[in-house]
Symmetry: C5
Subunit: 352 residues, 5 copies
C-alpha cells in the first residue's frame, strides 16, 4: 500500500537548509549532460558534478539530469549555480508537495513522478525536482531516469521543436512527459474499477470490500499528489518571469489541460467508487434478504408440520383419531395441504 | 456503459503536436462547404480539403464542415489557415475536455456532442472541434453530421438571422444546436429516474440497484462533459477578441443560460438519485423487517406448541395426564389458548 | 409530483427567437392596465394589446399585466416596445431559470411564482416575466393573476408609497409579493417536516420513507427555483442602470434579505430531512433488533426444552428414568429450571 | 424544540414598512436611558419614549434601552430619529436574519440573543435590534434585558474604557456581551455531546437516536443564527462609515474572533455528532450480530440433537438400536459429542 | 479525550482587556532572556520581568521566553512594551484560535503547540503567544519550554543563519519548530490508521468502532487547530509591515508549505478514516450474512429431517410403513437423501 506519510528524515531543531549527510549513504549519483542548440549537440556522462560547471554560461541550452540523491553533489550545485539552501533541502529530503518557487534568476519546481509496479499492483511515486535557469535545466530524481530517455532521443535526432527552443521549452517537455505518465496509472486503475463495477452487480462477495478500499485509498493518494500540480503549472503560465517565454505558454496551457483532465478523471473515479460502494452495501443487504427468505420459508413450512406430527406422537390413552382406519393418511393429507398452503402464501408474497 | 477513459492513442515521448498517422486508417473525410452572405449562397461538397482554400479570403462567411478525422486533411488546414499544431493534435486525438483557446487570429473550441443510442440505451459522445476565424468557421467531428442539417437548411432558406450576421453568429448557432441536443439526453434519463422513483416506493427489488448505479454513472459522466462548457461559453461572452461582435453576446448569454440549466438539472438529478438510493436502502431494510416478522411469528407460535406436544410424547410410565379421560382435548385446548395468546401479543405489538 | 423537467417545446434546429405559434392554442390573454402617478389613476381592462400602446410614452407609471401566454400579443409588444426576440422566446416558452437581463432601455426579469395546491398537497410553479422600462412595467404570467390583486388595491387606495414612486418601485412591489408567497409554501412543508420528526421518533413505519422522499424532492426543487433569485435581486441592487433609482435600492435590499432567509430555511430543512432520514434508518434497525430479540428469546428457551422432551420420547427399551416413580415430574422440573435459567440469562443481557 | 420557522405575522399584500398595530397587544415597553461622558452620568427610567428626545442632540453618549416591542413607541423613534420605516418593520416583526444596514446617519444591526431554558433543556432565541447613531445607541429587545445589567453597572462604576469612549464602543460592548452569551449555550450542548459519546460506545440503546436528532437540530439552528453574524461584524470592521472610529476596530476584531470561534465549535460539533451517529449505527449492527449469534448457536446445537432424539422416537417395529442394552446411553453419548463438537466449531469461529 | 471546549474563564460582563487575577494562582513564570547579534550573545534567567526592560531598546535581537502564565508579569510587559490590553487578555485566557494581529509597532501571533502524551495516547495542545517587535520577540507558553531548547542551542553555537538575521527570522524559527512538531503527532496517528486498516479488513470486531471514533475526533480537532494557521502564515508572508524583511519571506514560504502539507495529510486521513468506516460497516454486514447463512443451513437441513422423524413417531394404529421389515432403514435412507440434497442446494447457491 502507498504510504501517505513518509517516515520523515525531518531534522527537528536543526537550522533550515541543513542537509543531513550522514543518514544518506546513497550510491553516487549518475549525471548525464546535454548541451545543445539547433545546430550542435554535445552529450556526456560526467562523474563529478563539477564537470557540468563549465556549461553554466554556455549560450546553448544545458540539461543536467541527475539520477540519485547525492547531498554533496547538490550542495555543490547550490554553490555554483547560486541556488537557495532551502531548495537543496527540499531536493534532498523529498516528500514535497508539488510546488513552484520563483527565485528571480531561476525557478524551482517540485513534482511527483507516478508510476506503476506491475508485480505488486502498487503505485510508486518519486519526487522529481526541476531547476529552470535562463539557459539550463537541472532535473534531479532518485531512481527512474528511464522515463526521460525518449526526450533524450528526440534531442539527439532533432525531432520536433525541442532543439530550436530554449530551456523553458525543455522544462515543459519534462513536465509533459511526467504528466503523460499519470495517464497510464489512471488507466490501469480505471480498468480495475470497471471490473469491480461488473463484479458488484453480479456477485457482491466480501472480497470486493477490500479491493474497494484499496482503490479509494489510491484515489485519495493520487488526488493529493496531482491536485497541487494544477497551481504549479498555471503559476508557470501566468508567470511574469523572463525565464518563461511567451511562445512556450501555449504549450504550458496544453500540459495544464492534461493535468485538469487527470484530476477530473480522479474525481469521477472517486464518485464512481463511492457509487460502487453504495451498490455493494445494498447488494449485501439484498443477499441477506435472500438468505432470510430461505430460512423463513423453511421454518414457516416445516415448523407447523412438525407440530402436527408432534400432536399425533402424544401418548394420551384416549385419542380417537389414532384409532381411525385412515387417520394416518388423513394426517399426512392435512400436512400436505398445510405445506402447499404455505408455499402458495409465499408465492403470493413473491418470495419464491 | 460509457467509458470514462478512452484508450488514449497518447503517444508517450513523442514531440507535442505530433499526429500519429499510421494508426488511423479512417475512411476519407466528407467535406461540405457553404459560403454565404445575406444575398448569395454557394454550397458544395468537396473531396479534397484544398478545394476550400480559395474561400479563405472571401469576404463572405465560409463554413467548412468536416465529417471524419483525416489527419492529413487537418494538417493541410493547419498549414493553410495558420492553425497551431497543438490544436490539430487536439482535433485528431479527440477526448479533450471542453475548452476555449484564443489564438488571436482564431479561436479554437472543443466540446462534446452528446446523443443517445436508443437501442442499447446508452449515451454516446463525440468531440466537435470548432475553429472560428474572422470570416470562417471550420467544424470537425467524427461521425454525426446529421445534427447540423437543420442549420444548413436555415442558411439555404435564409430563415432567421443567420445569413445577415457574421461567422461568430454561425459559431453560436452550432454551439446552440449542440447544447439543445443535451436536453434530449437529459429528458430521457429524467423519465427513467421518475420511473425508478415509483418503483422504489412500490417494490424495491434488487434489479433497481443496478439501474441506479447506471444512472448515477451517467450523471457523473454528463456532469464531467458539460460542466466545463460553462467556462467555455462565459469565456466567449467576456472575450475581448475582435472575432466576437458585441451583438452576438446576447445570443451567447442565451446558450450560457441553457448550459446552466442543463447543469442545474444534472445536479438535481444527482440529488434525486441519491435520494432514491436512500429510499432503496431503507426499502430493503423494511422488507427484511417484514421477512423477520413472519419468521418470528411462526417460530414464536409453533415452537412452544411443539414443546407441549413433545411433553406428552414422553414415555414415562407414570404420567397422570395421559390417563385422564379428556387429557387429549385439554392438551389441544391449552395449545390453542397459547397460540391465540401469542397472536394477540403480536397484534398488540402491531406486527400483524 | 413536481416535474423537474418540463417537456420542452424546444424547437430543435429552429432559429433563436422563433415563437412556435401553432402548438399554443391558448385562450386569449386577459390584459389589465393601470396608469398612475401620485395624483391620477386610470385603470382599464383591454382586449387587444394594441390598446396599451398609447400609454407607452405617458409620463405616468404604466403597469400592463398580462394573464395568459398569447404569442401574438407578445410579438406585438416586442415590436412596439422594442424588446429583443430572445426575450419574447423566453416569455413564451417558460421554464426559464430565474434571471436578470439588462438591455439598457429595459430590464428583463424571469422568476418563479410558487404556490401550493391544497388538494393534491403539491407545489405548483409558474413563470412570471417582468419587463421594467423607464416608466412602465409589463408583467406576464400564465394563470394566477389573483396574487397581484392586493397590489392593485394598494394603488387604487393610494396606500403606502407605491403611487409616489416610479416604475422601479412597482417592479420591487411585484417581486416582494412573489417572494412573500414563498413563505407560505415553506411554512406548509415546515409543518409536515415537524410532524414527520415526531413520527420517526415514536414509530418509524415504512410509510415515512415515501413521505421523506417527497419532501426531499420538494426541497431540491425549491432550492433550484429560488437559489438563482439571489443573484437576480443582488444584480438589481448593484445595477448601475438608470432604470433603478437609488432610493429603491433600500427596498431591494429588503427583498434580498427575504430571499436569503427563504434559501436559508430550505437549506436548514434539507439538513433536518437528512437528519430525519438518519433517524429513520436507525429506527428501522432498532426495530429489527427488537424483532430478532423476540425470536431469539423464544427459540433459545424452547428449543432446548423440546430437545429434552424429545429425549424422553425415545423408544429405547432400557431407559431407567422412564420407570422412576417421579421421573415425569423431575423431567418437568428440570425443564422449568432450564427455562427460568434462560430467562435470567436474557434479563442479565438486558434483552428483556 | 426550537421552531425553525416563526409563524410569520407576515402581512401579505400590505405595503412595506407597515407595522401591524392591532395584533400586538403587548404590555407597554420599559425604557431605560443612560446619558454619559467620562465625567457625568445621568440615568433614568422613562415611561414615554418622548422623554428621550431631548437627549438626541446632547454631546454625551446616550443609550436608550427598550424592553418590549411597542409598535407605537418605535414609530415615534422613527419619526424623531429619522429611521427608515423598513427598519421599524424589521424591529417589530422580529425573526430577522442577523444583518447590518448602513443608512449613512445611523447603522442598523439585527442579531440574535441566544439563551438556554434550563428547565425544558431548550434553546431560546430573541431578536436584539441595535441602532447606532453618531452619539446614541438604541437597543430594543422583547424580554431579557437582564443580560445588559452588568454593562449598566460598568457604566455606573466607570470601570474599563466604556465611559471614555463613544457610542460605537458602547455598541461593541453590547455585541460582545451577546456573543459571550453564545458560549454558555454551546458549552451546555458540548457537555451533552460528550455524555452521548460515552453512551454510544458503552451501550447504544435506542433512546440515543432521539437525543442525537435533537442535538443535530440544535446545531443546524445555531449555525443558521450565528453564521451570518460573521458578515455583520466583519462589515462593521471594514466600514468606512464615520460612525465607527478607528480605535474601536481593534475591539470589533476581538468580537469577530469570538464569533469565528463559536462557529468553528458548532462546525466541530456537527462533525462529532455525525461521527457519533456513525458509531451508533455500527453499534446497532454489532448488537444485532450479537443477537444473531446467540440465536444461531442455540439453533445449531439443539436442532440436530432434537433430530437425533426424534429418530429414536420413531415407532418402527424393527429398529435394532432400541433393543440394545446400552442403546440409550450410547444415544445420549452421541448427542453429547455432537453438542460439544458444535461448541468447539463456534469457538473456533470466535463466536463464543 | 481532547476537550473541544475549554471551560472558559470567560468573565461575562467584565470590561474587555480585564485579566482575572484572583483565579490564577500559578507558580511564578520562568523567564529566560537572550540578547544577541552575529558577534555577541548575552543569556540569562531573570526572576522579575522588569529585568528584561533594559534590553528593549538594545540594537541587538532580544528574545524573551516566558514559561508560565503570570498575569502580573504580562501586565508589566503590556505597559513597558506598549502592548494592547486585548492582546494580554488573549495571552492570559488562552484557548485562542490561531491568529495574526498587526498593531503596526508589533505583531501578535497566537498559535497551538500540539504534542503527544505517550502514556494516555492523547493529544495535548497548548497556546503559544508570540509578540514580534522591531528587535525583540516575546514568546509565552504555559508549560513546555523544552521544545525551544534546540533553538537556544543553535543561537549559542551560532549554527545556521539565526545569529546573522533579525527578530523576524527568530519568529520564523519558533514557528517552524512548532509546525515541525505537528508532524510527530500526525505520524503517530497515521500509524494507528494503518493498523486499523489492516484490522478492519481481516477482522472487523466491535472494538474498532471505538478506535475509529477517537481517530475521527482527533482529526476534527487537529484540523480545527491547524487550519487557521494557514492564514496566519500567509498573512505574515503578504505582510507589508516593516517588521518582516523581504529575505525572511522565503523562509516563511517554507513553513507555509509545511503547514499546507500537514493540513493535506489531515484531510487525507479524514478521507481514509471515512473509507475505513465504510469498510467496517460492510464488514459487519458481511459477518452478519455469514452468521445468517450458518443458521439457515442448519435450520434448512434439520427442520425437514426432524419433521420426517416426527411423522414416524406418530402413534396411529394403522401406519403400514412401521411394519415394514426395512422401514426404519428406508426412513434413515430418505433422511440422508434429503440432507445431502439440501447440502447440494446450498453448495449450488455458493453458501458453503
Amino acid at each position: 500500500m502507498v504510504k501517505f506519510f513518509k517516515k520523515t528524515a525531518k531534522n527537528l531543531g536543526l537550522p533550515p537548509g541543513t542537509i543531513s549527510e550522514s543518514t544518506q549513504t546513497t550510491p553516487p549519483a549518475v549525471i548525464s549532460l546535454m548541451d545543445y542548440d539547433s545546430k550542435d549537440l554535445q552529450e556526456k556522462e560526467i562523474k563529478n558534478i563539477a564537470g557540468s560547471f563549465p556549461f553554466k554560461d554556455s549560450p546553448k541550452v544545458t540539461w543536467i539530469n541527475i539520477e540519485g540523491i547525492d547531498p554533496k553533489a547538490i550542495q555543490k550545485i547550490d554553490e555554483h549555480f547560486g541556488i537557495h539552501p532551502l531548495v537543496s533541502e527540499d531536493i534532498v529530503n523529498g516528500g514535497q508537495r508539488p510546488k513552484l518557487e520563483d527565485f528571480g534568476d531561476y525557478i524551482f519546481i517540485a513534482l511527483k513522478m507516478i508510476s506503476f509496479n506491475e508485480e505488486s499492483n502498487e503505485i510508486i511515486d518519486e519526487q522529481v525536482s526541476l531547476i529552470l535557469g535562463s539557459n539550463f535545466v537541472i532535473s534531479i530524481q532518485k531512481n527512474s531516469g528511464a522515463l526521460f530517455e525518449p526526450i533524450r532521443q528526440r534531442i539527439r535526432e532533432n525531432k520536433g521543436r525541442v532543439r530550436t527552443m530554449g530551456a523553458d521549452y525543455l522544462a515543459y517537455v519534462l513536465l509533459d512527459t511526467i504528466v503523460d505518465n499519470y495517464y497510464l496509472v489512471i488507466e490501469k486503475r480505471g480498468e480495475e474499477i470497471e471490473g469491480l463495477e461488473e463484479d458488484v452487480i453480479l456477485n457482491p462477495c466480501s472480497g470486493i470490500g477490500q479491493e474497494l478500499h484499496h482503490l479509494k485509498r489510491d484515489m485519495i493518494y493520487l488526488r493529493r499528489q496531482i491536485w497541487p500540480l494544477r497551481e504549479v503549472i498555471s503559476g508557470m503560465q501566468r508567470n511574469e518571469s523572463k525565464l518563461i517565454k511567451k511562445q512556450t505558454t501555449v504549450y504550458l496551457r496544453d500540459v495544464y489541460d492534461h493535468t485538469i483532465q487527470v484530476i477530473d478523471t480522479i474525481e469521477s473515479f472517486r464518485d464512481i467508487i463511492s457509487g460502487i460502494h453504495d451498490s455493494y452495501l445494498s447488494g449485501i443487504s439484498n443477499k441477506m434478504n435472500e438468505v432470510m427468505k430461505v430460512l423463513t420459508i423453511f421454518a414457516a413450512i416445516f415448523i407447523p408440520l412438525t407440530f402436527m406430527a408432534g400432536i399425533y406422537g402424544m401418548n394420551f390413552e384416549f385419542m380417537p383419531e389414532l384409532k381411525w382406519r385412515y387417520g394416518y393418511f388423513i394426517a399426512l393429507g392435512l400436512m400436505g395441504a398445510v405445506g402447499v398452503g404455505m408455499l402458495a402464501y409465499f408465492r403470493k408474497k413473491k418470495w419464491i
